[in-house]
Amino acid sequence: MSIDRSQVDHAAELARLELSDDERERLRGELGQILQAFEALNTLDTEHIPPTAQVIPLGNVERDDVVAGSLPLDAVLDNAPRVEDGQIRVPPVLDES
């Protein structure tokens, strides 16, 4: 299975990534290979296998509603690209929420 340039561009746009032409071409190949690997699953007979969303044999992992504390502000902002007024500063975005 191969994917075309426009699919790479669409995925990059959704992920807000700017790609150079070289990167687009490289990723087109790599993403194609990944999809090919998944294609292999389609050769399996799954007619009698119930669908699952999980591979770990666990369920109902819940916690009590208890406050356990938070990080100090310095630590929270440590990885921020820019900080302003105790908040994480990013380039201006249109508020769509």
Binding site: L14, Q54, G59, N60, D65, A68, E84, G86, V90
Partner: protein, 486 residues
């Protein structure tokens, strides 16, 4: 605003309601969920900051709140539910995905009855699901003079419930009634403050307009940014006009998201090319699925209070006026209080009306709002008894109540301390005669059969006696006097 061609078009409205749940901690981590008064970014940990390698864990109480809501909305609670990742890249999400529920939500197939002008509409509830709230963005001019967006992560990861209705709503009034009744219900069952002004309740609408008799298509417009029920009604009325106008001019209606702008009273397109709704949902690998046992559902159902509709029906049957009951059941603490007053011997009709009007006035005048009501329901029942048997006039009952709030004394004590009512025939008789003499027009009105004239004359007597006269005695006395003179 009314629909220009209400008869020629059919309006289809569905509502999506986001509700912040009332929990101590966030949805998937132990940070405090109460961020309203917190300094930005102080209720934040590696989980809600979206650090690699962290493990979210489901807040049991948030799941319970969602199931409670589903039960209150007559939903089915499936045995199996799971969480999914909703992927989109926007700086209000630290992880660049939101944990939500896609195809297997906690609650499905419910309904909610909404009343408008005496007619009941049954609105289907498609689903109620659980997800996490996003960070708060503010758009500013930064200290260096350039525009920037600032991120406060405190809200990120707070438990958020979404209630999706079927497109069964046809008018702005129905949508507003749905919102108001839903807010009251959420408060009633204690799952949320549901305050719109704090963003604890946010309603988005999907709306489309179709020619009558033609099939309803897929295209709909999503309307956002309504910060009050009034704004919801106005935004929908605007959209009905706009879409009807387009239909009449033969123009197509585009599928889009529009934002309500309160200042201009219009909706505006929020379409942006790069913001495609391509969420690429997939099962959340970090969260094992939930098997909701029937025991859990039954226990939650058993612990729910009686629903406001049921309580209202009971009170109306016991003689309380419908309008007063409708107002009362907006407020569960006051409803519980009223039921206790009725339980202590007051009549339902009298108690509800008096509590909704007089008692609430006095309660709202108290300095520490939201505190427990300091007067026992039995005390109020005894005040209502004094009022019902005429020992206390209506005016005086209000004053006695104020004094009960102020001093903590019982109704009996206060009434006694104020001295007995003036019911001595001689004293009242001379006051009544004085009033009759001074108000010839009212006397003439009374003789002409105007019932309000008697009320007026009684009011004059009550005014002179400063509310201390027994209203029944006054009424009898005035009538006897007037009828004797005629």
């Amino acid at each position: 605003m009314t629909t220009a061609s209400a008869t020629a078009y059919r309006v289809v409205i569905g509502l999506e309601t986001h509700v912040q749940l009332r929990t101590q901690s966030k949805m998937f981590c132990g940070c405090a969920a109460d961020y309203a008064n917190a300094r930005p970014n102080t209720h934040v940990c590696p989980v809600c900051l979206g650090m690699p390698g962290v493990l979210p864990v489901i807040n049991r109480e948030a799941v319970n709140h969602t199931i409670r809501t589903g039960l209150a909305l007559n939903c089915e609670i499936p045995d199996y539910a799971k969480f999914d990742r909703k992927n989109y890249a926007y700086p209000d999400l630290m992880k660049w995905y939101q944990i939500s529920q896609y195809d297997l939500p906690l609650c499905i197939n419910g309904h909610f009855d909404v009343d408008v002008d005496g007619a009941t509409t049954r609105v289907g509830i498609t689903r109620v699901h659980l997800e996490e709230d996003t960070a708060r963005l503010t758009h500013v001019t930064a200290a260096d003079g350039s525009p920037a967006s600032l991120i406060d992560v405190n809200r990120s990861g707070a438990p958020l419930m979404e209630i999706v209705s079927e497109p069964d709503i046809q008018t702005p009034a129905e949508a507003m009634a749905y919102g108001e009744k839903l807010r009251a219900l959420l408060r009633w069952i204690g799952v949320s403050t549901a305050n719109m002004e704090d963003g604890a309740l946010r309603i988005d609408a999907n709306i489309s307009v179709w020619p009558q008799g033609e099939p309803i298509g897929d295209v709909k417009v999503e309307v956002k940014n309504m910060n009050s029920f009034r704004a919801l009604g106005r935004a929908l009325a605007f959209e009905i006009e706009r879409q009807t106008g387009r239909r009449e001019r033969g123009e197509a209606i585009e599928q889009e998201t529009r934002g309500w702008d309160e200042t201009s009273g219009a909706t505006r397109s929020q379409r942006t090319k790069e913001y495609a709704h391509d969420y690429r949902y997939f099962p959340e690998p970090d969260l094992p699925p939930l098997h909701i046992t029937r025991e859990r559902v039954d226990a939650l159902r058993a612990a729910l209070p009686r629903m406001p509709d049921q309580v209202a029906a009971d009170l109306i049957q016991q003689g309380a006026p419908e309008a007063d009951v409708a107002e009362l059941v907006q407020d569960r603490p006051l409803t519980d209080y009223s039921l206790a007053v009725i339980g202590a011997g007051a009549s339902a009709g009298e108690a509800v009306t008096w509590i909704v009007h007089e008692f609430r006035r006095a309660l709202n005048a108290q300095p520490n709002k939201g505190a427990a009501i300091p007067i026992s329901p039995a005390e109020i029942a005894s005040l209502l008894t004094l009022r019902a048997n005429g020992s206390v006039s209506s005016t005086m009952a209000g004053e006695v109540l104020d004094e009960m709030f102020a001093t903590g004394k019982s109704a009996e004590e206060i009434v006694q301390a104020r001295g007995p009512q003036i019911s001595g025939q001689d004293e009242l008789l001379s006051i009544a005669r004085q009033v009759i003499q001074e108000n010839p027009q009212a006397v003439q009105d009374y003789r002409d059969g105007k019932g309000r004239a008697l009320q007026f004359l009684m009011g004059q007597v009550m005014r002179i006696t400063r509310g201390k006269a027994n209203p029944r005695a006054v009424s009898t006395l005035i009538r006897t006097q007037l009828d004797a003179e005629s």
